[in-house]
């Protein structure tokens, strides 16, 4: 098992390198001169040249990449010129907030999606199935940022139950309870789409598994229906759904961009949107690389969990 995990860990190294190349290439496509963006009205030819030299932008592209990645490997992501602080410090601080939000959302959507999917399959064509199918369809068809706005209007403005924005209350907050209160709305909003996708797949997987021979064996043994469904069918269906949850991690991480903007959550998504508009290239580069790498790790984790659940792959 540990050998397998080690092998998988090693196998993501080339993927991470590939990611860094894509991120670098995309960023180098940026038209215009970053030096001018930095200098603004101080952009005299001499100053531009000096900045370009400082940033290594006068060197060929390949060399620039290796200088950048060499520094990145050592933990130096460069400095954000707009914030005037090291990119890594800013990115890690923001990423922590995003991980809290996305992590809670991922747990939420997995639990909701699995439960809804199983109920939907077990009560196929019943009213519960129809209701779930409709909610799921609506959930995957609405813009998450719009749903967020509606939830703010209802829960924060109209009923005054929950805070509308931010991660902690400005005055007197800061404890776990405060954090959880602030998490409820954004995490639920973020979870809706992914939960819908997971529910759909769980339903399909359950219906498929319920027809299989080993389920009939479980019935022939005289097991009560509840055990047939949860211990036998669900167990087998789960193995197929786990990788989908891994993929959903990517949608949740990406979707966090909108949710963080709507709820003013101090995460990496909101940071990226701002960095893009100020053309803070190194910050964008570093942020995208960190989020993409963590997505790769999420998928790896999903694979490992799947392997642990399925003895056939484990062998």
């Amino acid at each position: 098992m540990s050998a397998y995990i080690l092998k998988r860990l090693l196998s993501i190294i080339p993927v991470l390198f590939g990611l860094s190349i894509i991120v670098f290439l995309v960023m180098s496509m940026i038209p215009g001169d970053p030096a001018i963006a930095i200098l603004g009205s101080y952009a005299t030819p001499e100053n531009v040249e000096r900045i370009n030299r400082d940033l290594g932008l006068d060197k060929p592209l390949v060399q620039q990449y290796f200088i950048w990645i060499g520094n990145v490997v050592q933990g130096d992501f460069g400095r954000s010129f707009a914030l005037n602080r090291p990119v890594l410090d800013e990115v890690l601080e923001r990423f922590r907030a995003t991980l809290i939000l996305a992590g809670v959302a991922l747990v939420l959507c997995s639990v909701m999606g699995l439960i809804a999917g199983v109920i939907s399959a077990v009560r196929q064509f019943g009213w519960a199935d129809k209701a779930i199918t409709f909610v799921v369809l609506a959930g995957i068809s609405m813009p998450s940022f719009w749903l967020g706005l509606i939830l703010i209007l209802l829960f924060a403005v109209r009923w005054r139950l929950l805070p509308a924005s931010g991660m902690y209350a400005i005055y007197g907050g800061g404890d776990l309870k405060d954090l959880l209160l602030h998490l409820i709305l954004p995490a639920s909003t973020l979870a809706v789409v992914a939960a819908g996708v997971i529910a759909r797949l769980t339903r399909a997987a359950m219906l498929e598994v319920l027809r299989q021979d080993f389920v009939r064996t479980a019935r022939a043994k005289g097991l009560p229906e509840r055990q047939v469904i949860y211990r036998h069918a669900f167990r087998a269906a789960l193995v197929g759904v786990i990788p989908v949850i891994g993929i959903q991690a990517g949608f949740v991480l990406g979707g966090a961009v909108y949710i963080e903007t709507v709820f003013q959550w101090p995460g990496i998504g909101a940071m990226l949107v701002k960095a893009i508009s100020t053309r803070d290239i190194l910050l964008v580069q570093g942020g995208v690389l960190i989020v993409a790498s963590s997505h790769v790790l999420f998928n790896l984790a999903a694979d490992v969990v799947q392997t642990m659940l399925d003895p056939r792959i484990r062998a």
Binding site: V15, M142, W146, A220, I276, V288, A315
Partner: protein
């Protein structure tokens, strides 16, 4: 993938397309989606002709008018612009960009998939690695990075969304193309001297088209959502141009004072996307029936019994199991057709009855009907009574029937690889069979399960119990199946072709084991097989089934010596005997010719 191969080398004919349309319209939800979407598209197309105020005309005096105000059906925004007009024009932009992005992604992605799947080998490997790399990015993040590089703007958002969706097309199309690139008709085209480009466009592409359409219909909704998202963040449409996303984004500032400014465009996005999604699901169901979500029906805990079944009286009160006039059938597309008809069988205590017939003769359906294990839907027990110690099984309430399964009547199934749960250890599966009917503590349960496994001839049972089915040989797996059947000392064991999936020597061992166990425990055995050799070996009596009907029944020796029915004669003639192999076919032919005479 069957879409492509089943439709053959030529594109689907127009007749097929007509029926596909009808199928699509028969799906009520998809039809609603189609109508709604057509309506929305029509309104967007006709926007310049509709009597709407100028969407960009500001009127500071009339800012933030509520919904249903004079002259502004949906009110006005923060600059006094008419929301209804802006909504119509904004939908036009959003849909245009979304559909354009879908087309771009489909064109580029499908090309990559076609080339990759057709070329195979190193080209395929390289291209798919690149696609995987794109997919390693969280979906929206890559679009953000691309917009960051190209700069905010509607066209750039379009490119970004298209690029992000390329992998979905590339992967799906490549999968199908890979299968097609070795199909006979492609080889034939190659041999006829056609060039690669011509083969791809005239032979492969038409067969891949359904997959492209499915992928388009399932991703178009996403793309509209994502375009709106980028605009919402201020990275898509730039003022004064507006799409639905940017309207929503700009209206956010007035969320608390005039929520309709941001909520209304969201409703519009929702309507467009949901109509696209239900339509997409419908298209997928029509073009690839295998994926149809509703095609798989959930089988219930017991076979459905028809409400007015004929229930003949129990003719053999002394029998442990008596099947009287059983008729079981299947309902497909609303039509019922029977699989077995008027089947009557009985088993005395300790007796072994062979049920023999070719595949499809209804043996298994008969066997599964006994304890209501035929999957339902589609299975229905139409007629008949099944008496277990004189009690009709199908009059029992669920809990009682379930408690009889495994304890009074136990089953051994044909293929133990698919009939054992792949993710539970065999020890646990045997324990479960015991604990379903007996209250034992953990330790006793374990001991009993190991003892059972030992009894059926599994060596090192204590160690073996920790193994999973895939780690055992076929013979060992079947022994586990037998151990589970024995777990509660049932009165009847129904063995449904228990030796068919095994090789001959293992088959003999399993038969020996069953014989021995029957003698030792005195249980009745209903033994289903297609092999008269096996019947002669183990059964006291035998019933011959053909086309869902029992054609002949009698004591094994009598029936073997003097078969009455032509079909029985043929079955017996088919058993090869050692030393009489020469001219086997010639001998058999005479029986078959006789049987086929009109």
């Amino acid at each position: 993938m069957t879409v492509a191969t089943s439709s053959g080398p030529t594109p689907a004919g127009s007749r097929n397309q007509v029926s596909a349309w009808r199928l699509l319209l028969n799906n009520r939800l998809a039809a609603v989606g189609l109508v709604l979407l057509s309506l929305l598209v029509l309104v967007a197309l006709l926007a310049p002709l509709l009597p709407l105020p100028d969407p960009d005309a500001t009127a500071p005096a009339e800012r933030l008018q509520p919904v249903l105000s004079q002259g502004h059906l949906l009110g006005t925004d923060q600059l006094g612009r008419d929301i209804l007009s802006r909504l119509t024009w904004g939908s036009r932009v959003s849909m245009a960009v979304g559909f354009a992005a879908t087309l771009v992604a489909a064109a580029i992605g499908s090309t990559i998939g076609l080339v990759s799947g057709y070329a195979g080998g190193r080209t395929d490997n390289l291209m798919m690695r690149g696609v995987d790399m794109l997919m390693a990015f969280p979906y929206i993040l890559l679009a953000l990075a691309i917009v960051a590089a190209l700069g905010p703007g509607l066209m750039n958002a379009l490119y970004a969304i298209a690029i992000v969706n390329i992998p979905f097309f590339a992967r799906n199309v490549r999968g199908v193309t890979l299968g097609l690139s070795h199909a006979e008709f492609v080889d034939a085209a190659r041999l006829s001297g056609k060039g690669h480009l011509s083969i791809i466009t005239t032979e492969v592409l038409p067969n891949v088209l359904p997959v492209i359409v499915i992928t388009m219909s399932t991703t178009a909704g996403w793309m509209i959502l994502e375009t709106a998202g980028l605009s919402f963040l201020g990275l898509g449409a730039q003022p004064p141009q507006a799409d639905l996303g940017s309207m929503l984004g700009e209206g956010r500032a007035q969320l608390f004072t005039a929520p309709q400014v941001s909520i209304v465009p969201g409703v519009m996005i929702f309507l467009i996307v949901i109509s696209l999604n239900v339509l997409g699901d419908g298209i997928r169901d029509v073009l690839d029936p295998r994926l149809r979500s509703g095609a798989l029906l959930r089988p219930g805990p017991r076979t459905e019994v028809h409400s007015d079944r004929a229930q003949p009286a129990n003719g053999f009160p002394s029998a442990v199991l008596n099947v009287e006039g059983l008729e079981t059938g299947f309902v497909r597309n609303g039509h019922y057709s029977s699989a077995v008809k008027a089947v009557s069988l009985h088993l005395h205590p300790g007796e072994c009855l062979g049920l023999i017939g070719e595949s499809g003769s209804g043996k298994s359906v008969t066997a599964l009907s006994i304890m209501g294990l035929v999957n339902s839907p589609p299975g229905v027990i139409r007629n008949g009574g099944i008496y277990l110690h004189g009690d009709d099984v199908h009059s029992m309430p669920d809990t009682r029937l379930i408690s009889c399964r495994g304890s009074r009547v136990a089953y051994i199934f044909q293929d133990p690889l698919t009939t054992l749960h792949p993710m539970h250890t065999i020890g646990r599966q045997v324990e479960e069979a015991i604990s379903a009917h007996q209250r034992l503590d953990r330790r006793a349960l374990q001991e009993r399960s190991v003892a059972l496994l030992e009894r059926v001839g599994i060596r090192d049972a204590r160690e073996r119990a920790k193994h999973y089915p895939h780690q055992l040989s076929g013979g060992q797996r079947q022994r586990v199946g037998i151990a589970m059947a024995l777990a509660n000392d049932p009165d009847v064991i129904v063995a449904d072709e228990p030796t068919t999936a095994l090789d001959v020597t293992v088959q003999a061992q399993i038969l020996g084991l069953l014989k021995e166990l029957r003698r030792e425990r005195g249980m009745a055995l209903l033994f289903i097989t297609h092999d008269f050799g096996v019947v002669a070996e183990i059964c006291d009596r035998v019933a011959v089934m053909k086309d869902g009907v029992v054609v002949e029944t009698g004591p094994t020796q009598e029936l073997l010596a003097d078969p009455q029915h032509d079909y029985t004669k043929r079955l017996i003639a088919c058993v090869p005997e050692i030393g009489r192999g020469s001219d086997f076919l010639a001998r058999v032919r005479s029986v078959f010719d006789a049987g086929n005479k009109p």
